[in-house]
Symmetry: C2
Subunit: 458 residues, 2 copies
């Protein structure tokens, strides 16, 4: 009996010490990721190149093509096991001449910042002028009846709810106006639609973003007003409900063009047939440099790979970095990537995306996977919370990696602080100088740390 107790005690102590060692080891490795990223990180330099040397990268544009070459070349110089392109056919929408918008209030003509929504048709060359009907919802529009709306411009003016703590929730709550506003307005006989920009603040930067025409409904042009202009228009409408609004845009959809996802691989040492993806999207809207959306996700994903390489950490599973094409207006790259994974019988166990801006890391959102998987990921909190990564819970993975979900891939969305994102996103203000270097670098280290723990524990 005595001997057995001693034996059991020894086993327990050994187990504790081994798990203690493993914990120490993990915490040391995570510390190394942060030391390297914050001390000698490259994500800020990657972002500088992508945003200031290439700039806007809407699918089909010269910028997007340059970004593919840049990403491939940068990965090739990284010494990874494999770098390759995947062919993707993408939409090619162009904005054309700078838009014009005016509030025509009697003799007063006030210019307002306005941009075409991505995917919209142009107005006639001379623009359209019509009276304005302001509504806050589709229901309110329908309740007005068709007669009242025919020949008018419908103005959707429901703001993002400022009281939501996570601004993505507020964005979600207002997004229908941009996506489907034109269809709803068209059904009611309207000749154009303008929406209040999906912005968390009052400013002069109109936000573009994609809209989709429904089949069987006449196509009408759709544009976004800056939030400040929307507030002004609403106020002026109260004074003069018969004012007119003028806008002109010359955007158009050109034929689809070939483009690419850029992929690189570090071969797994133990389970090379099981793949973990990390990525962001290489395309951006056309109004600015696509810094937070999604230059930061690209820069961080590239940095994750550099961190593994520089620190000499060989993953058990195969790691892939994917620079997806066409998240903004079609998600063709994400769909193609998942299609190829299926066609090639690849097994993607996890996919992580960074597409919520380069702000201070807060945690990760988990989409899919069993309750056990979620618990396992949440058990990493002890290791990650010293880095501010306490928020590990159900959440969206990301648009690009979304098509992998039906294959059983667990999606992990990197979650930075959301407070400032919707001041920049899809506007002319989404520029390099609005990304903070430390916040960006911490994000890259956070992603590397989570991938390291996933690779080790699954």
């Amino acid at each position: 009996m005595r001997k057995q107790t001693t034996f059991i005690t020894t086993i327990i102590l050994l187990t504790l010490s081994l798990s203690g060692f493993s914990q120490d080891n993990d915490s040391t490795t995570i510390r190394k990721f942060f030391n390297e990223a914050l001390g000698k990180g490259q994500s800020y330099e990657y972002l500088r190149q992508l945003t200031t040397q290439i700039g806007a990268r809407l699918s089909g544009s010269e910028g997007a093509a340059k970004a593919v070459v840049w990403g491939k070349s940068l990965l090739e110089s990284g010494g990874y096991d494999r770098v390759f392109l995947q062919d993707v056919i993408v939409p090619h929408w162009v904005r054309g001449k700078k838009e014009e918008g005016y509030i025509l209030n009697g003799k007063l003509k006030t210019s307002v910042p306005l941009v075409a929504l991505g995917g919209s048709i142009a107005t006639p060359a001379k623009g359209i002028t019509a009276e304005v009907i302001e509504v806050k919802s589709f229901q309110e529009l329908r309740d007005l009846g068709k007669e009242k709306c025919t020949g008018k411009i419908i103005f959707f003016n429901r703001p993002m709810d400022p009281t939501k703590i996570n601004t993505f929730e507020a964005y979600g709550g207002a997004g229908d106006q941009r996506r489907s506003g034109a269809n709803e307005a068209s059904k009611m006989g309207a000749i154009g639609v303008i929406i209040r920009s999906l912005s968390s603040t009052e400013n002069d930067f109109p936000h573009t973003g994609s809209m989709l025409y429904a089949t069987g409904v006449p196509l009408i042009p759709a544009a976004a007003l800056s939030t400040r202009a929307a507030t002004l228009l609403s106020k002026t409408l109260k004074e003069n409900p018969n004012l007119k609004f003028y806008f002109r845009q010359s955007c158009e959809s050109l034929p689809d063009v070939p483009s690419h996802n850029v992929v690189a691989e570090i071969k797994g040492s133990e389970k090379p047939e099981e793949i973990i993806v990390v990525g962001g999207h290489l395309d951006s809207w056309d109004l600015a440099q696509g810094a937070h959306d999604d230059g930061t996700g690209i820069a961080q994903s590239l940095e994750v790979f550099r961190l593994f390489k520089t620190l000499g950490i060989r993953p058990k599973h195969t790691l892939r970095v994917v620079l997806f094409m066409n998240e903004e207006n079609g998600n063709r790259g994400g769909i193609k990537y998942a299609d190829l994974a299926k066609a090639n019988n690849e097994k993607h166990i996890f996919a992580m995306e960074s597409d919520e801006g380069g702000f201070t890391p807060r945690g990760f959102g988990i989409q899919g996977g069993s309750p056990e998987v979620k618990l396992k990921l949440q058990s990493f909190r002890d290791l990650l919370s010293p880095y501010g990564l306490g928020d590990i819970d159900k959440g969206s993975g990301g648009v690009d990696i979304g098509p992998l979900a039906p294959q059983g891939t667990v999606l992990v969305g990197f979650k930075p602080d959301s407070q400032r994102y919707f001041e920049y996103h899809h506007t002319a203000n989404d520029r390099f100088e609005n990304v903070n270097q430390r916040e960006l670098e911490m994000g890259a280290a956070s992603m590397a740390a989570m991938i390291y723990l996933i690779d080790k524990n699954f």
Copy 2:
């Protein structure tokens, strides 16, 4: 026995339902604080007034005097139970003419951004010119020996450690150079001291901040170089160790002047004799508008009071908002406040300070109090973590409320995200436009929520 079980069950259910009700009630109230602050908050407007209409507010300056009048008047219009000033005699250091600094490398004369440290003496009117000895620590300086340093300018160039996750820790690790560098250099025979700015980034904004002369040591002038200039000087010194450095500053300490803390009170409904303080400091450095340091703390503290009033929440304890004077170069306001509290036999149970910038809230640091108090405060996590306030742990309370600690007051420091603070703090760049409205407003609601829970549970 049956009856007794039923009775006990009833009691248990009643207790559960009551505590459930209380929890619901608390979460509803906290939600109200955030709804009001994010939807109709005033902290951004308070900050706009203080920073853009008054501006810099160094103790003894016209700005500081105006800020006292502004704060008092704003609180008087708030309808609180009592508004009063506390007399404080403060130091009056003035910067004088804009400083000049040059690297003199042979025939090459390079102008560098440089500011006098607060409290420093002037150089002679024609400036000082001397060879430069670069060191990273006091020990390295001492090891050089007096002979080598005599007649020289000592250049302290130890950067803030970028790998620290909390930048305040990095600031703490580099702060001795600013506080005591002049004394250490003087002991070694130096005629002047220049330090690398305490900044988390490479930029062109030199950081001022207070230094103190030790008694019995010759006073020598002390200045800070921008981080970029410090890097340049270090690089140039490697090429030419005999280069000279020139700087000229005309700052001086004038006689002390009278100033004030501004205090307002909401009388407690149950324990009016027990006081909970919330505050920040009204003074700022002289180089800019003192936005993050500490206009945001002032704006948030004022907003906490407005939130209680607007939502009709009567506290059990007496709440005091204190706009402290002279945190930056003497803490005379904080000391005076605690002295008066003691002299008047006031019982301060808690004091909260916001003096780490107006960034996204992360939690609270607890200083003092029993382990039970800490556990109680940490038990609020369930209610506060939906607002990102998961980080409730030991930490520093704040400089202004620090002198209350010996009276047994539990100090609670509001902890916003620290990543960007040391890019602005004590520089010409600490301006209104670098404060984000949502982040600021969320901080005010966070502080109100924590004070509400403290008031209710102690």
